[in-house]
């Protein structure tokens, strides 16, 4: 499909040139096609950008949903599966991280982009919140409201993504995952275990 070919080229271009430096020429050159083709399959550049963001959002959604459903039955297993999905090799690549932050750095259009993916994000947040509530109730953890834990998790996803993007020279998905596992083991110590730390880091 030409559409997917162009979306892939758009991801490449944004990762390399940013949204501002992404033009119809850069996209079609990467795709190996001619200039006019974008306005044929997508009706405008703005539409191409939105479809690209939607593609990434859906890809991420499918990833964590599948991990969630295939995980063990316990709430901690399911929560960790969602965490891991954020750092899955197909989702958490330097290129795709660059595109995510390119979109959310775009003030003025942020509302447009946000409305495109709000439902998807909300679904994940609600599930994570429910899992935290289950764990808190079952484990008798009363000092932190589940909502607080879910919020911190969301912030950690984004914050670690940004660190991976900013310092790609120490790009390590496993370290990212350990950060979150560390947090969970401190909040729900009977349900998550502290990862083992190798020397140095």
């Amino acid at each position: 499909m030409r559409r997917q070919q162009l979306i892939d080229a758009t991801i490449d271009s944004i990762a390399e040139n940013g949204i501002g430096g992404t033009t119809m020429s850069t996209v079609t050159e990467i795709a190996g096609l001619s200039l006019g083709i974008v306005n044929f399959h997508f009706k405008s550049k703005q539409n191409l950008l939105e479809e690209t963001l939607l593609f990434l959002a859906k890809e991420h959604h499918d990833q964590w949903l599948e991990a969630f459903e295939n995980a063990g039955l316990s709430a901690p297993d399911k929560l960790l599966a969602i965490v891991d999905a954020h750092f899955h090799p197909q989702i958490c690549t330097p290129k795709k991280l660059a595109v995510w932050f390119a979109f959310f750095g775009e003030a003025g259009r942020r509302e447009v982009y946000r409305s495109l993916i709000n439902d998807i994000d909300q679904e994940r947040y609600d599930i994570a919140l429910r899992l935290c509530s289950e764990i808190a109730e079952g484990g008798g953890y009363k000092d932190i409201p589940p909502r607080q834990v879910a919020n911190i998790l969301e912030a950690l996803y984004d914050g670690i993504w940004l660190e991976l993007l900013t310092y790609p020279e120490n790009f390590q998905r496993s370290v990212a995952r350990d950060h979150i596992a560390t947090f969970l083991s401190k909040v729900y110590p009977d349900h998550f275990q502290m990862p083992a730390f190798n020397n140095g880091d």
Copy 2:
């Protein structure tokens, strides 16, 4: 000074239109000046953008350094002062957050921007790391390496900033601060106390 006037206008314009939508016209219009003035005081648009980023970085630096030096003498006090500086009313405004993420969403120029503020960021990280080491040693906390705590803190700053930017309708600096205090109270329970949670959230 005209330079500061133009930098302020640039912040306003980026917050409203994004970097892509920020032109010489939008900046000079907001500043109430004429078109050619930017190239007189700054030699190019790119230079204006870099000076704007530098201004924000220095402002942030001054903020946390002053808070750090004026804080209590204990390591926990000093660490919390640095945390608080991130959510100070002068630093953590919707406009300025928008500008930060606009810059770091700009792939292609990210290296340029990063090199501009790397030293400043490194200084803060080093101090936080040293404080964590002191606390860990003094308190006998052996299960988490201080570097791990410092890294998670950095990620939390960015992640919470992004949440504040994305969901400005629930913009509350105090909630942001509580998130980090919660984390610290779980990692170093004898040195930080869990914030009190009001009902609901």
